[in-house]
Structures are given as C-alpha cells and as structure tokens.
C-alpha cells in the first residue's frame, strides 16, 4: 500500500502584517500550516530575510568577505545601499547601537538624520532596532517614526517597560508597526500583545519578537516557545498569539565566542568568518523551522544561503 500524504491545514492562520510601503512592501505571515510546510499548503508569503546595518561600522578584522562587501562605503547611507544589494535581502534593519548612553550616546537628532539618510538610500522596508536603553529607545523610536511617516517601518522592540510610549507614538499616532519583545516566554508574549491592543494599537500593527539565542546557547527554549506559540495560534485560534514572528538572529550570534574569537587565538577552530557565517545560518534556519516569519542577518553569505534555503522549500 502506498503512502498517502494528508495535508495538515489549520482553520486559523498567522496574521498578515505589511512592512514598508510601495512596490517593495513586504507582507509577513498568512500561513495556515506548521512552519515551512509548503507541501501542506503553498505559502501565501515566504519567510523573509533582512540585513542588519549598524550606525557603527562593523568590526571586520578576520572577516575579509564582510569587509570586501562594504569596501569603499563612506557613509551610513552607502552601507545601507550596499546591504540592500545582497542577494535575497527583503528588508533592512537599521541598528542604532551608537545611541546607547553607555556608548557613543548619539543624540536623537543625529539618529533621525541617519534614519533619513538610510531611507533615501533604499526603498526596501525598514526595521528600526534601538540601543536597548529603555529611555533612549522611547525617544529615538518616537522621533524616527515622526521623521519617516510614509515608510511604514517596524520598530524593534517594545518591551514591558516601554510598550506604552512606543505603541502610542509609533503605532497609534503614525500607523507604523511595532515589534513586541518578550524573553522566550509564551505568557509574557501574549500578555504584551493583550496590553498593547488594549492601549489601542491594532493587532495587525504588531509583530512578535519572541527573543532568541544563538544555536547551542539555550536555543531549545526558543524552539519550544515558538512551537507553543504556533500551536496556540493555529490549533486554538488564539488571536493574541497569531502575530507574525521576527527574529533578530544577527544580534545574538555575532556576540558568541564562535563568531568573535580570532583564528590566531583559536587556530584549531579554523576560519573566524566561516564560523560566524555558520552560526548565523544554523541559528536562522532553526528559527525559520520553529516558526519565525522573518530573520535578520548580517553577513552577505548567510543572507544568500538562507534566502536560497527558503526558495528551495517553497
């Protein structure tokens, strides 16, 4: 007797959320199947790969290919433009590390100017990542949202401490998208979505950043959380967990030892750049398998590989 495949299509679906505007606008979500199971039902929207660009140029010692990619780029705008050329890049993540009061402490005005420069350099959708300082991120996101009214960016992230200001200033006042950040906990993720919608942020304006970990650094918690979020969304039609998931993979993997130890220090580990790329690829593919609708990566090689993987599974 032959094997008869039975398609597992749920009645509920992941919510669709549009990032960006114009021709390059990107829709996340829409799936009615388990992650990546295109054989159960063709994808409405493919998972998307975005490229991280920081206002502080990346450290490229030991990373010749990354250095080569951005060679000759003088300004932030140049780097954004170059990032947008990566094969498979569907959106750009502007990571404003330099705003951190504990670091370069760039002013909100400086960041706004950089955001505008980036917006002029690419028409891909923009995802704005802050500096992790709650006070600064609130001011920063509000100002950038006001400065890019027509670009429909996504702001990463609103947390329990600052969701009100970011929700009100970015999503409610300007109709932009907000990433609800929780730390690998399904209940907190849901609670934040409930609180944001009660504040008045439309559910369709919310994307979830459920938190991540580099592969090998407690990723099983991430996988189990995402599994349960998807199960609640699809099997139980829990509308407060049906938001698409975005995972800033690069922000995790580029700080672990596999990615930063130089080859000189660890000759037995081989090429640093290869290791760093592999960390990104392994983590990103695991995130996509667990249910991420979008991942953010740094290296052109990882972007290309993950985009190719997605294309092959479609």
């Amino acid at each position: 007797m032959g094997f008869t495949a039975k398609a597992q299509v749920y009645k509920a679906a992941i919510q669709e959320t549009v990032l960006g505007a114009g021709e390059k606008a990107l829709t996340l979500g829409g799936a009615r199947t388990q992650p990546l199971c295109a054989f159960d039902e063709a994808w409405k929207n493919a998972p998307a790969v975005g490229v991280e660009v920081s206002d502080i140029p990346f450290e490229t010692a030991g990373l010749p290919a990354l250095a080569a990619w951005y060679e000759g780029c003088g300004s932030f705008g140049d780097r954004v433009k170059k990032a947008a050329e990566m094969e498979g890049a569907k959106f750009i993540c502007l990571h404003f590390e330099g705003a951190d009061p504990g670091g370069e402490n760039k002013s909100v005005e400086e960041i706004v100017a950089l955001a505008k420069e980036a917006a002029a350099a690419t028409d891909l959708p923009l995802v704005i990542a802050g500096c992790k300082n709650v006070e600064k991120d609130q001011a920063l996101f509000s100002a950038v949202s006001d400065a890019l009214p027509d670009r429909n960016p996504l702001f990463l992230s609103a947390r329990e401490e600052d969701y009100k200001t970011i929700g009100a200033a970015c999503a409610m006042a300007n109709g932009h998208k907000v990433g609800a950040e929780s730390a690998v906990d399904i209940n907190l993720a849901k609670q934040l979505n409930v609180l944001m919608t009660q504040l008045g942020v439309p559910a369709a304006g919310i994307v979830m950043n459920l938190g991540s970990a580099a592969a090998g650094y407690g990723f099983e918690y991430v996988a189990s959380t995402m599994d349960r979020v998807k199960a609640a969304a699809l099997e139980q039609n829990d509308t407060m967990l049906q938001m698409p998931v975005i995972t800033p993979v690069a922000l995790e993997t580029w700080s672990v030892k596999e990615s930063i130890m130089s080859e000189a220090d660890m000759p037995e580990w081989g090429s640093q750049e290869e290791r760093a790329i592999e960390m990104e690829i392994v983590t990103a593919s695991a995130c996509l398998t667990s249910g991420s609708d979008a991942v953010i990566l740094r290296h052109p090689e990882s972007v290309k590989t993950i985009a190719a993987m997605i294309a092959a599974l479609a």
């Binding site: 009100k164 009100a168 409610m172 209940n187 504040l199």
Partner: protein, 717 residues
C-alpha cells in the same frame, strides 16, 4: 433661570458672536481668503470632528455656521444640552478661525507661541507631544482652569498643586493675569499653558482633544457617538470654572460634560441640574484638586517615597542586632499589631500620616515599645477580602527599608529600628510614608485613597489589640467557612509556566496552589489587581461530577491555559486525571500499595519514604506539568482539606508523613478526620520517620496495630 435656559442662552450668545465675526471678516478679506490655524492636518478640528466639514476658506467657514446652528437643538432634554454645548465650542472655533484668517499670529508677534502671553492654537506636533503621555498615562490627565480664582494665592495653589501631581494645566481668562502677577512660569514645556483671554479660547483645547482622538483612537469625522465615547474613556480631562460663570462658559461646560469631562465650580446660581461626577458644585476652592481627581477617576502614581533611608529589596534580609538597635516593637512582650482596614473613601484623607503617642526620639535607646500600625484604604473596587492580602505584604514592604528589621504579622510582629536609621532621621511617620507609597502603587487598581495611623501610646495600643483580634478571628472564621461549594468561581494560576510551560493550577477555596503561596483569596485578589495576569476566573457552572471534582468549565480552562497540553483534570482525585505539578510543590503524595494508602512527604524532608523513594525521586515522577496517576504535588494546607483525594476516600488514606509535617497540619487534620469519619486523634494512626522509614511491611504492621482505616478500604489500583 434654570440650567437649560443658561446653556441655551450661552450657546445663542456664542453663535451670535460667531455670526458677527464671520460677517466682519468676510467684509475685510473676502470669501476666497484662506482659513487655517497652521501646522495641522485636521483643518478646523472641532468642526471637522462634529460635522465632517473641512473648512479651508471664508466661504466654507460661513457655510459651516448652518450645521452648527442646526446642532443647537432646544427640546429641553439632556441630549439638547450636550449637542448645544458641542455646537457652542464649534461656534467659538469659528470666531478663533476668523482671528487667524486675518492675522496668523493673533496672540503676539513671537513665532514661538510659548513666548506670547496667550498660546492660542496648538500644532499637531504639540497634540502629539501631549497625546503620547496622555495615552500612556504618564500624564495622568489635564485640567482647564477658567476665569479668575477668588484670590491670586488660591490661583497659584491650584496651578502648582496640579503641576506637582503631573496634571497638565490649561488656563483661560483672568487666572492667567493672576498667575503672571505671582510669577508662575508658563508654557508648553512646563505643562502650564495660558491659552486665551476668554472662554472662546476653549475651542483650541477641544481641538486638541478631538485631534488626539483622530490620531490615537482612529476616530472618524462626524461620528458624534464614538468621538464622545473615546474622549470619555481615554482622555482624562476636567474643568475648574470660577464664579461668576458666564452663560457662554456654562454652555461650553455642557460640551465638556458631553465629552466626559466633569466640571467643578463654585458657582451656585442657576445650577439646578446636578449630575454626580459631571457637574460638581463645591464652594471650597481649596479642596478642588482632590474633588476633581475623584470626579474624573484619576489615580496618581506615587513616585518618590519620602523617607530618609534607602528602600530596596537588597535590605530585605538585613538583621539588626541588639547592640545596633535604637528601639524595638516586640509583639511577644508588648502590645503590637498591624491592621489593614477598608473604609469609606469619603472618610479617608489621602496621604494622611498620623502618630498618636511618642516618636522614636522620645523613647530611650534600646527600649521595647508598644506599636500599632493601622492602614486605612478605600476605593470603589476595594473589598474587605483584600485586607489580609495587603496586610501580609507589610512585612516585605517594611523590611525593604535600610536599617529596619521586620518579622511576623498581625499581633505577633517584631520591628527593630537601627541606630543608623535613627541617626539618618528615621521617625515613626516614615513607616506611614513607606506604607502609603507602596500600597498606593502596588494596589493601584483597587486603592483610591490611603491613610496611615501609628500608635505608640500603650493603653491605646492595648485597646486596639483587643479590637484587632476580633477582626483577625472574624477573618479566619470566614476563610475556614469558605468551601468549594460556597463560591461561584475558581481561579487559574499559571505563575510558574515560565519554567513549566504546560502546568496549570486550579485554585479553589479548599485546594490552594501547589506551591502553597496562592490561596483562593490570593488568586482572587491577584485577578482583580491584574486582570491580564496569571490568575484568571474559571466559572464552575457546568458540573460533570462534583464528587471527583470535574467541571466542563475547568477542563476548558485547563485546555486553554496549558495551550492544549492537557485535556481534563479531576480536582479531587489522584488516580483519574489528577492535577499536574510544575516543580515547586510544597509536598508530594504517592500511592503506597501495601496499605491501600498514600504517603506524603514535604520538600524539606530528605529521608526515604516507605515507598522506597525520597522527595526528589518522587518529584521526578510527576514534575513538569504531566499527569501521573497515583502521584501528585500539592500545597501543605491541602493535606487536611476535606477535598484531599476525596474521590479515593479522602484523608483516611494518609498512612505516612514526616513528623514535622504531621505536626504542622495535625490540628485541622484531626478535626476534619473526626468530622468525616468519627476518628479521634487521627494523626496518631499515621506513621512517620521515627516509626518506619523505607520498610513497607513495618508500615503495615504499625497501621494494623493502630487500626488505621486505609487497610479496610478498597484498593486504589
């Protein structure tokens, strides 16, 4: 003249002014002349909000008068007052628009309106600047102060009073001159904005309100009902109008009330129409702040705690030794107590701290003193059931003070104040300050007002102690009378899902959470205080089997909150779908097959049980949110409950417990065993580690000797 006539007259007056203004302006600049307030995408926002019209030139402004007039209905119903009130504000906006059409800077030559005497129109950027903190409630609300206060001092006291509470202040009319005479700093950045010289300027404030509703609430133009619902629900504004109040002001006030903004005034003439919390007549201007905040339902967050020592959980475990001690309140030697009481809100003066008796500096060093702390709270949603929940938190609140040690509760407390804290200036009133701030913040949802009284006068404390003991007894009585049958709802608790993702506790009066920390009362309070939190209501309407403890509602809740991992739970059985366990249970019970009974072991007991396993070995059988028939984690206080494995015969199945655990539950266990089975001193029949450890045969021998009832019961498996 009654209030209806005043409103109608006032709105007629404003309309006539608007008509004249339009006529004169048309003559001056013609009907094609543009009309705009500048820096707004919402045209004349009040008119757009309530008529849908987008006015851009004088001809359109003239035409807008017709729908405004049409809204001024005169049927002597409340709705007519409201409609006329809103239309009066629109008429005022027409007048202001005429001013701006002639001169884009009608209130002074400075481009920055904060440099002019009157601010006038507010830009969309300013709406957003104020709107974001209003939405997030970082600014708890705003007040519109209209006309001249009885004295300059009262004007300033009100403005500063609101300012210090974080309330945004708008000024109209004579009070602006009063503020200027007193040198009050004004402008958008300091959150005190002088809007205009008379009531007509109110249109700029309502313009801000409706634009906030457009921007943050996505309210559509010409949607009267939803606009007013949004402003009522989301914009925490109110009006303070000083006597004499003009008819036009009363008419605009009606518009404010239509939007949900109460009006507080000291005008008594013609105010025959009173609506609680909407139109408040209060002739004592000095009490307006509290009165207004209550009318609008605004609760303030207490941000700084006024004590001379640090407050942090870092000091929670701090021990004060005798030598370092300034004084102590020792409940074992002297009369001491703590009590939280609910009181009528009107009888509480918020933030009142009173000391009756001597202060710390009046006692000798090292003295043992009498001390009673009485916290009185009130609020629309406060329930006496929350009193013990708050009272129990006093311990952790006070312990967070640097240099203060606190143990115990009720009349068995001990508080030590260190010499260092005393030298830093710590006095009795600071206990009050701390408790006030903590209770207001932590229990914001239910506590509107809070006052604290501290007694150190020995006779008074003695009297209070007798009184308090009656209250404690009454509470205990109520809790002990609560049964699963006597309540309408149970609660979920998913506090520990962060590490045990599919575990759900169902908390009932007779079965507390397995961690031992969440009783039904706690869960109820948690639910009220944080409606989106870990404790959710589970109705118990669709009973399947009350004997075993099965309800359809409970099963649905378990399915939902375990995210599908669990299908059903029997609350009173350890064999059939027992409740799951996370990892933090106080005790675990497991079947002992030789005796037909169960053994119970608490976390602290490290020895082996008669089933041959230790606590941690037993725990590994059932943790992590899985159902393992025959094994179950539970709270200590569940042991003597009449619902303890009721489906399998109940308490009489207990054959072994560690001695310490047995002693801690003995009183209630014996009482319930007597009531249920007529057995005296049931705990004497239960073996412990001093009688038998790992040997089941020795256990059966002991039970046989004692005539333990479990031996005669049907086997569980």
């Amino acid at each position: 003249m009654g209030l209806f006539d005043v409103v109608f007259h006032g709105s007629d007056e404003m309309y006539a002014l608007a008509e004249t203004a339009v006529k004169e302006t048309l003559e001056k600049i013609g009907e094609d002349a543009p009309v705009a307030f500048g820096s707004t995408a919402y045209y004349l926002a009040c008119i757009k909000a309530y008529t849908g019209l987008e006015v851009t030139n004088m001809a359109q402004l003239r035409d807008a008068l017709t729908p405004i007039r049409a809204m001024m209905t005169r049927n002597r119903r409340t709705a007519d007052i409201f409609h006329s009130g809103i239309a009066t504000v629109m008429a005022a906006e027409v007048i202001e628009a005429c001013k701006y059409a002639v001169n884009p800077l009608p209130y002074g030559e400075n481009e920055n309106p904060n440099d002019n005497k009157y601010h006038g129109h507010m830009t969309d950027a300013e709406v957003r600047e104020l709107g974001v903190p209003l939405v997030t409630r970082d600014i708890p609300g705003f007040v519109v102060l209209i006309d001249e206060a009885p004295t300059d001092e009262q004007a300033v006291a009100l403005i500063k009073g609101y300012q210090s509470r974080g309330i945004f202040v708008f000024l109209l009319g004579g009070i602006i001159d009063q503020a200027m005479r007193k040198g009050v700093k004004m402008g958008f950045p300091v959150r005190v904005v002088p809007v205009g010289p008379d009531i007509i300027g109110v249109s700029h404030i309502i313009s801000l309100v409706v634009r906030a509703a457009f921007i943050f609430g996505n309210i559509q133009p010409n949607d009267y009902v939803n606009m007013n619902r949004y402003t009522m629900d989301r914009i925490f504004a109110f009006v303070n109008a000083f006597s004499p109040v003009s008819d036009m002001t009363v008419a605009c006030g009606a518009g404010a009330i239509a939007e949900g903004f109460p009006v507080i005034t000291n005008e008594v003439k013609d105010m025959d129409w009173r609506v609680p919390k909407s139109l408040v007549i209060n002739t004592d201007v000095d009490t307006w702040i509290d009165c207004s905040l209550e009318a609008r339902g605004i609760k303030l967050k207490v941000t700084n705690i006024d004590v001379p020592v640090a407050v942090s959980s870092a000091f929670e475990g701090e021990i004060i030794r005798k030598g370092d001690m300034q004084l102590e309140a020792d409940g074992s030697r002297k009369d001491c107590l703590e009590l939280v009481r609910t009181k009528d809100v009107r009888e509480i003066e918020d933030h009142k701290i009173t000391l009756v008796g001597k202060d710390i500096d009046e006692f000798g060093v090292g003295e043992k003193i009498c001390m009673a702390t009485i916290v009185e709270v009130g609020g629309a949603k406060m329930q006496p059931d929350f009193e013990p929940v708050m009272e129990r938190k006093i311990h952790s609140f006070v312990n967070c003070l640097e240099g203060i040690m606190h143990t115990g509760q009720r009349d068995l407390i001990r508080i030590r104040v260190s010499k260092a804290a005393f030298e830093a200036g710590f006095r009795m009133k600071h206990f009050g300050e701390l408790l006030y701030a903590k209770i207001k913040n932590e229990y914001e949802a239910v506590v509107d007002k809070c006052q604290v009284t501290i007694y150190t006068e020995p006779e008074k404390v003695h009297e209070l102690r007798i009184e308090a003991n009656k209250i404690y007894d009454a509470r205990d009585d109520r809790v002990s009378k609560l049964s699963d049958e006597s309540v309408d709802v149970f609660y979920t608790c998913i506090l520990c899902q962060s590490f045990s993702p599919s575990h759900v506790c169902i908390v009932t009066p007779e079965r507390l959470g397995l961690c031992g920390a969440v009783s039904w009362m706690d869960a109820k309070a948690t639910n009220q205080l944080d409606p989106n939190g870990p404790c959710q209501i589970v109705p118990k309407e669709r009973v399947v089997d009350e004997e075993i403890g099965i309800w359809e509602d409970v099963n649905e809740a378990v399915q939902t909150y375990s995210h599908g991992a669990l299908e059903q739970v029997s609350l009173y059985s350890i064999m059939q779908d027992p409740m799951t366990s996370c990892g933090c249970f106080e005790c675990i019970c497991g079947i002992e097959p030789f005796s037909n009974g169960v053994v119970i072991v608490n976390r602290e007991h490290t020895g082996v049980t008669p089933v041959g396993m230790t606590f941690s070995e037993l725990a590994s059988m059932t943790g992590g949110g899985v159902q393992t028939p025959g094994f179950m984690g539970h709270g200590r206080h569940f042991i003597p409950s009449k619902k303890f494995m009721k489906a399998e015969g109940g308490l009489q199945r207990i054959v072994w417990m560690p001695k310490a655990l047995k002693e801690s539950v003995a009183e209630k266990l014996n009482a319930n065993a007597k009531e249920l089975y007529g057995i005296e001193n049931f705990t004497d029949m239960i073996a412990d580690e001093t009688i038998v450890e790992g040997d089941p045969e020795a256990l059966v021998a002991f039970l046989t000797e004692k005539g333990h009832p479990a031996l005669g019961l049907e086997p569980m498996m």
